[in-house]
């Protein structure tokens, strides 16, 4: 059975944000063309003539809108050349407010795009400036409105735990997000990553983020957004199927630099460097930098961690069928170290409570 999910990584941005450690860079001349050619070659080599029928497709980055409308046409053609789509396939595209144009939206509408995920991050101009974003709050508002007017489901990414972010400031951003017609809201806590301008920032400036997250857990459901994953809230029925597939251990193909694929129990990661990625493909080889196949026990533990990201949690029956009774029990006993208020355990399985989600990382690190 071939994978039903495809992720395409666009490794370009108009500018690197101060906090970002993802594989992306400001494109040099000719790099976008090189990328599109290499991507087509990757599909050729990877699929070997097969045509997977996709349930979900996600174009992320970087910044997919860093590709011009013309380049987007070429990208769409490449994907259509290699894949079929199921009738109600979910196709998501990420967009940045500053580079999203009407032409982009038109191309997407004419193609199969159902969701647009916008990198809003904040509705506070000072915060946006601090992060090195190229847009202001108004830009984000316009982008959301434009995407909505094309009939897409629109989601937004928000960041909390920013330096000197006040609780009130965060509350205002959340309130605005909840009043803009979005169907999906993702919340990410700022992490200071090695190799970024913010790596040397004093963590004490950030606070523990607990209150910000707890507020979102309280507020968003009251505005119609239910939490379905540790970082994701959605109007019921509008959850991202693509992301849920990751947590449910579904298979997926990842294409583009630094993208990860998971097929036939093997997880592999492409070269992060565009040059290295393209060179490998030119030589006719898959551009895989590293891959891993986990032992049964390790993959069981990882599966439990992934499942606990979702509010639905670990389903006992499925889990035992796949990994055996012993592995399930070892997850249960790892959970026992924690206060009962953090999780629920019953015949159906194990789930983190709202309170548990707030300290999920510690729980996962115990299980892994």
């Amino acid at each position: 059975m071939s994978p039903k999910s495809l992720y395409i990584h666009v490794p370009f941005c108009e500018r690197k944000c101060a906090y970002c450690a993802f594989a992306s860079a400001v494109p040099k001349k000719g790099e976008r063309g090189l990328y599109l050619e290499a991507l087509a070659r990757e599909f050729d080599i990877r699929l070997r003539g097969t045509r997977p029928k996709l349930e979900t497709c996600y174009v992320g980055g970087g910044t997919p809108t860093a590709l011009s409308p013309a380049q987007w046409n070429s990208l769409v053609a490449t994907v259509e050349k290699h894949f079929d789509f199921a009738p109600a396939a979910e196709v998501t595209v990420e967009a940045n407010p500053n580079s999203l144009t009407a032409e982009h939206l038109k191309i997407w509408r004419d193609w199969r795009v159902t969701r647009v995920s916008i990198g809003v991050q904040s509705f506070d101009d000072a915060e946006l400036k601090l992060m090195g974003r190229l847009h202001d709050a108004d830009g984000a508002r316009r982008a959301i409105a434009a995407a909505l007017s094309c009939g897409f489901d629109v989601g937004a990414d928000l960041i909390f735990g920013l330096p000197r972010q006040t609780f009130r400031g965060w509350g205002l951003t959340l309130r605005e997000a909840a009043h803009r017609g979005l169907s999906h809201i993702s919340l990410y806590q700022l992490t200071l990553e090695e190799g970024t301008p913010w790596a040397s920032l004093d963590e004490k400036l950030l606070g523990d983020g607990y209150a910000a997250y707890r507020w979102a857990q309280w507020y968003l459901p009251r505005r119609g957004y239910a939490q379905y994953e540790v970082a994701n809230f959605a109007v019921p029925g509008r959850e991202s199927r693509h992301n849920a597939n990751y947590w449910r251990e579904g298979e997926y193909i990842g294409a583009g630099p630094a993208a990860v694929s998971y097929t036939a129990g093997l997880r592999s990661k492409n070269y992060g460097s565009l040059a290295r990625y393209a060179k490998s493909l030119e030589e006719g080889a898959l551009p895989i930098e590293e891959s891993e196949e986990l032992t049964a026990e390790k993959s069981a533990r990882e599966a439990a961690v992934l499942a606990l990201r979702m509010t639905e949690g670990v389903f006992a029956e499925n889990f035992i069928k796949r990994y055996g009774e012993k592995n399930y029990r070892s997850v249960c006993s790892a959970m026992q170290k924690f206060p009962r208020a953090l999780y629920e355990i019953d015949n159906r399985g194990i789930r983190l409570t709202k309170k548990g989600m707030r300290v999920a990382n510690i729980i996962w690190s115990e299980i892994i």
Binding site: Y213, S261, Y262, K337, V359, I362, W364
Partner: protein, 603 residues
């Protein structure tokens, strides 16, 4: 062979009065070491001795000297440590001598160890040659120091030798005085062999090397000898003298100082203080030995990496061979795992041992807070010795707790008397006397619990007297005191490594400091963790470590689950390095910092 040309002597002095420098000058003046091969503190062989400028081990050296009278003499100098913790080394060395050179700094005058070491020498009927050192200093006042010597120590200082170990001035005169005044060793070469082991070291190739002083008879290579304490016989493989490196000689006769090797593997077979005699013709009586020194300060040594426990054991065994005053036995702490409870003669002794373990043997270790040895009178009338807080029985079974006391002498300029007395009072000292040893110098004596002394007394005395005080102490036995064991509990469970003993009046104060420090050091857990200090069942301090709150929700991007898993695994690994006590993870640093807090913070 004649032995009346031998002179055996030690140099005794207070710390920093120039003992090691004077030794260096004597070695030069007798040509034992050529000047170009000279380095400072030549006899202090341990790296740590040279670094700290102190002497820890006694080191003997043999010097050939042609005196003004034309005679050739053999001078055996046995260098001795100056710090009070090592006074047992001093007394051992002195027992191998007929005389001692008492060095006093002509600028500073008589200090605590001057007195203590002089008394040690006097007890052994040694001839003392007083020497006033540093007379080249402008601040030297030799006449007053002579008066101090006469008044405090009670020796005739009229013919004290003025020298400058720095410039070498007066050294030839001193050598003449040594030949003239140090008694000729008495001994009978034809009598049955009697040789005193005054020290020993371990050598990887030759086994235990015993430092000996022959009293009667003769030692020679190939001879069969008996160690009288163990009644074991050995064949001597090597006999030699110190010049100062070990040089083989044919034989050692009465009065001579040297070393012997006999393929001895463990220190127990060749105890310091034992008498070596001849197997074929044993002496009737052993020589007067030494009292076995009893450790008074204890602490636990634990390897930082658990699997290094055997390495630590081997290192301690080797260290013990070179320093028989160290005792150790295995112990097991719920918090720190397997380690050793080690006994020492004092705090400096403990620090030196710890440092030597890590430097010479490459063992990284955690030391628990030091404590003294306690005697506990139980309700059934028996007496139990406690080397650690966990040795304490339940409160109801305790009739009385006794702790070791010392008699403390402090020498200082009189302007600091007030400050020093205040410190002594605070440390539960009881005043025993004060006298003027010079118009502006005072000797203050107090009885004080050893536990208070080892805490941080020395450092605090130094700071409140601006470094002008010197001190010495002797043990004066055990006295009953109102002591309690304070337990520290995490989540209602006592953690043995954090328990400590203190006076009932200080229990709250110290408990508060310890609990406060732990609250700072133990990272937040997923639940609230109460940290308590308790005496028996009674909780006297309680603080809470608040529950951890939000942890990072890293974005798991584009299905890169591997990266996320590795991050989680790294976190888990970090947690493993912490000590798990119940559900609480305690970082190693908490155990270390706990020591600091018990040492100084509650002042």
């Amino acid at each position: 062979m004649k032995y009346d040309n031998i002179r055996n002597f030690s140099i005794i002095a207070h710390v920093d009065h120039g003992k090691s420098t004077l030794s260096d000058r004597l070695l030069e003046a007798t040509g034992t070491i050529e000047k170009r091969n000279m380095k400072a503190q030549l006899l202090d062989r341990l790296e740590i001795e040279r670094e700290r400028g102190i002497t820890i081990k006694s080191v003997p050296v043999r010097m050939d000297y042609k005196a003004a009278d034309g005679g050739n003499y053999v001078l055996n100098l046995i260098d001795t440590p100056g710090h009070v913790d090592f006074s047992y080394e001093v007394s051992r060395s002195l027992a191998a001598c007929e005389g001692a050179v008492l060095v006093v700094d002509a600028a500073q005058g008589v200090e605590a160890q001057t007195v203590a070491n002089s008394y040690l020498a006097a007890d052994l009927d040694l001839e003392l040659i007083p020497v006033l050192n540093k007379i080249d200093l402008p601040s030297a006042h030799p006449e007053q120091v002579k008066r101090e010597l006469e008044e405090i120590i009670g020796i005739d200082a009229g013919d004290a030798v003025p020298v400058s170990a720095k410039t070498g001035e007066g050294v030839p005169e001193l050598l003449e005085r040594i030949v003239r005044d140090i008694p000729v060793p008495s001994g009978d070469a034809s009598a049955p062999l009697q040789a005193l082991i005054f020290d020993s070291v371990y050598d990887n190739y030759r086994g235990v090397i015993c430092y000996v002083r022959v009293v009667n008879g003769t030692l020679s290579a190939g001879q069969n000898v008996r160690f009288m304490a163990t009644a074991q016989d050995y064949e001597l493989t090597e006999v030699g003298v110190f010049k100062p490196e070990m040089i083989q000689v044919g034989a050692l006769g009465p009065g001579e100082v040297g070393y012997i090797c006999a393929s001895i593997k463990t220190i127990d077979e060749a105890r310091v203080g034992d008498t070596v005699t001849e197997s074929a013709r044993p002496a009737a009586e052993p020589l007067a030995g030494y009292k076995k020194v009893k450790p008074v300060v204890f602490c636990g040594f634990y390897p930082i990496e658990r699997e290094d426990i055997n390495q630590l054991r081997e290192a301690l065994e080797k260290l013990q061979i070179n320093d028989s005053a160290i005792s150790f036995e295995p112990e097991n702490s719920a918090a720190l795992g397997f380690g050793f409870r080690c006994g020492f003669l004092g705090l400096l002794h403990m620090e030196i041992a710890k440092e030597r373990l890590s430097r010479e043997f490459g063992v990284d270790l955690v030391a628990t807070a030091p404590n003294v040895v306690y005697q506990i009178l139980l309700t059934d009338g028996s007496v139990k010795e406690a080397h650690r807080p966990s040795d304490f029985p339940e409160q109801v079974r305790i009739e009385e707790i006794r702790e070791p006391y010392i008699k403390l002498s402090i020498f200082m300029p009189d302007q600091f008397v007030g400050a020093a007395m205040q410190l002594c009072q605070e440390k539960r000292g009881s005043y025993s006397g004060m006298d003027y040893i010079a118009p502006e110098r005072v000797r203050l004596t107090y009885d004080m619990p050893l536990a208070e002394f080892i805490l941080d007394f020395h450092d605090r005395l130094k700071s409140c007297t601006r470094g002008y005080a010197s001190l010495d102490y002797e043990h004066v036995g055990f006295r009953a005191a109102n002591l309690v064991k304070v337990d520290v509990l995490l989540q209602e469970e006592p953690v043995d490594a954090f328990s400590f003993i203190c006076h009932a009046d200080q229990a709250y104060h110290r408990g508060h400091a310890v609990v406060g420090k732990l609250k700072e050091l133990i990272p937040r857990q997923l639940f609230e963790v109460p940290v308590q200090a308790a005496v028996g069942k009674k909780v006297i301090v309680r603080m809470n470590i608040k529950a951890v709150r939000k942890d990072v929700l890293a974005k798991c991007y584009g299905g890169d689950v591997t990266r996320k898993r590795k991050l989680l695994e790294k976190q888990k690994e970090g947690k493993k390095r912490m000590k798990q006590v119940g559900h609480v993870s305690i970082p190693q640093e908490a155990f270390l910092a706990f020591m600091d807090v018990t040492k100084s913070e509650e002042n």
